[in-house]
């Protein structure tokens, strides 16, 4: 390392462009290319006619000579895909709301009411986040079956909060901690009840936290796979990830165009949501780890 490089933190602007290009932009570009390529490939395959997809001699695989909507058409009209999408929306929205409600209450109690033993309960809820779904799915399948919830949206709506509540609670605890106690004390003196304080003071002030918890919960439940694969059996009740992987593969014939179209259109809703709230999302992710 030369002396010029040594100054890079505070006096970054002294670094010449070619140097910075080699040291920063080039590796950054390569990593970003690696991270984005599968999405590009997904999109290209979705809009490419079968004839081009399986003929690398005549057509350049990176480009599309005759873009087509046939795969998307097939996906939406010849499979249960719209139904899967609807199921995924219902399940994600419901489990997000249940989790948010439970988490707001729990986080408020742990952080603001500070009842006896709240620290330990908080820790226990956090530990729940470390229990992976791939350990729970077998006993949960037995429970879901016993409760008569098998093969229905309700099975997913009730089980998804098990991994959403620990995360949301933990996140909201951090947000509630940033709100000054004095505000609550003033309200208490003015005769407000705890519930009024929560609804009228704490919640509005921690809205960014609630939003980021909500987005996080929504994307996590949109992504969930193993419970949906285990608890759902009929095609019309499946979610997008499960439907794509189990119903679009006929024996040894893979409909790559339709599969890629499913992957692409199944990703779009979370990506749109994410791009609107990316700052919340990032701060939620990093804030939760910083604490």
């Amino acid at each position: 390392m030369t002396t010029v490089d040594d100054q890079s933190v505070g006096m970054d602007y002294l670094e010449s462009f070619p140097r910075k290009f080699l040291r920063v932009y080039l590796p950054l570009g390569l990593i970003i290319f690696f991270l984005l390529f599968p999405f590009y490939w997904m999109a290209v395959t979705t809009f490419k006619p079968d004839a081009e997809m399986y003929d690398y001699e005549k057509y350049n695989p990176f480009l599309i000579a005759h873009p087509t909507l046939e795969h998307i058409h097939k996906l939406f009209l010849e499979t249960d895909y719209p139904q899967w999408m609807w199921n995924t929306v219902i399940v994600s929205v419901s489990s997000t709301f249940i989790s948010l409600f439970a988490s707001v209450c729990a986080a408020y109690a742990i952080e603001r009411l500070r009842y006896k033993g709240s620290r330990y309960v908080g820790l226990a809820i956090f530990l729940g986040y470390l229990v992976p779904p791939s350990i729970l799915f077998i006993p949960l399948a037995a429970i879901v079956f016993q409760l008569g919830l098998f093969d229905g949206n309700l099975a997913l709506i009730l089980t998804y909060p098990t991994f959403l509540i620990p995360f949301c609670t933990w996140l909201l605890m951090g947000y509630f901690r940033t709100i000054p106690y004095e505000l609550e004390e003033c309200a208490l003196i003015d005769g407000a009840t705890r519930l009024q304080i929560l609804v009228k003071i704490t919640l509005p002030l921690s809205l960014p936290g609630v939003i980021s918890a909500g987005i996080f919960a929504f994307t996590l439940s949109w992504n969930e796979f193993i419970y949906a694969l285990t608890f759902i059996s009929s095609s019309e009740n499946k979610t997008i990830p499960v439907g794509a992987i189990t119903e679009l593969v006929n024996g040894d014939v893979y409909h790559w165009g339709a599969l890629m179209a499913a992957a692409l259109t199944g990703s779009v809703p979370v990506v749109i949501l994410y791009s609107f709230f990316v700052e919340y999302y990032v701060s939620a992710m990093t804030g939760a780890v910083k604490e």
Partner: protein, 315 residues
């Protein structure tokens, strides 16, 4: 008068009891916890306990099992496929986690530089983490196709290869292929969280080091790494935990094949329990993951303690 006064007094007493209960933090706290605790006990704690129990029974799907003690574990210990899945899981976790950490840290350092479009870059980098894993795994499945793999095509066009690579047909190719897909999936999480950590380090530390004539490497080694180590411990615990218990990627790309070469403990337990119908045996395989997970958590916990102790005992 006294006749009327009595019930009123009782009423006042009763209502004040209610009011006092609602003013008591302990009572209110307990009430507020009910929704979360109810869901977590019914669908998290209880299944966890039930999982332990199922692992010691011979339960089949649709039937009632009986208690057979550690027999599942005894038969698993003689099962070469189970040991292969343990090996695969460790292989997968070790290699994917190391590379995820290396690339993630590198990417975080790069993103921490003065850059144009910084927040847009950050948003793009996180995409693989946001998109449903199964859906991106389908894309990898297609990328690894034996006849139409784009990787093979590029390598052949570049003159580096003269035949298509059988990515998912050969045991070692398949193992490396799924490791690569996992790295792709995991790098954004590591990078963004480490970036957040980097941004909490005070620039004055670097300025002081600069004045003392520290080199780039020395600054990284003596400022960045120690300041970052608590976050590294947390991120890597999560990363190892998620990798070790991964299911989606393997299930989508290889389903454990070829000849069980990529079966992880999670996919094997699914295969035995749900596809094969032996819930008890599947649960036993899941339970076998727990010691590894506890070890990973304890390791990072004590790692954190140690770094705190090194920093003078503050937390």
């Amino acid at each position: 008068m006294a006749v009327i006064a009595e019930p009123v007094a009782a009423q006042v007493k009763r209502s004040s009891l209610w009011r006092r209960a609602f003013e008591s933090r302990n009572f209110l706290g307990a009430m507020f916890m009910v929704p979360a605790i109810a869901i977590l006990i019914l669908f998290l704690a209880y299944p966890l306990a039930l999982g332990f129990w199922l692992g010691m029974t011979d339960t089949k799907i649709g039937g009632v099992g009986r208690f057979i003690g550690f027999q599942n574990f005894v038969s698993l210990s003689k099962d070469s496929v189970f040991w292969l899945s343990v090996f695969n899981t460790i292989f997968y976790t070790v290699f994917a986690s190391i590379v995820k950490f290396a690339i993630g840290l590198y990417l975080a350092l790069l993103l921490n530089e003065r850059l144009p479009f910084k927040s847009m870059m950050r948003a793009i980098v996180l995409l693989p983490f946001v998109v449903p894993t199964v859906l991106s795994a389908i894309a990898f499945w297609w990328i690894y196709d034996s006849q139409f793999s784009i990787i093979s095509w590029v390598l052949i066009k570049a003159g580096l290869l003269n035949h298509y690579i059988d990515f998912l047909g050969d045991p070692w190719n398949a193992r490396w292929s799924v490791v690569l897909a996992n790295i792709w999936r995991g790098v954004p999480f590591v990078a963004i969280t480490l970036l957040a950590g980097l941004q909490t380090i005070s620039p004055s530390l670097y300025e002081a080091a600069n004045l003392d004539g520290a080199t780039n490497m020395q600054r990284f080694r003596h400022i960045t790494l120690p300041m970052l180590s608590p976050i590294i411990a947390v991120v890597m615990t999560f990363s190892v935990l998620m990798t070790f218990t991964d299911f989606q990627l393997i299930y989508t790309i290889t389903r454990g094949g070829p000849i069980n070469a990529t079966h992880l403990m999670a996919t094997l337990s699914f295969q035995r329990a749900i596809t094969g119908g032996n819930l008890g045996e599947g649960a036993a395989i899941s339970n076998a993951m727990i010691p590894f997970l506890v070890a990973a958590i304890l390791l990072s916990f004590f790692g954190l303690q140690r770094s705190r102790w090194q920093q003078g005992g503050r937390d």
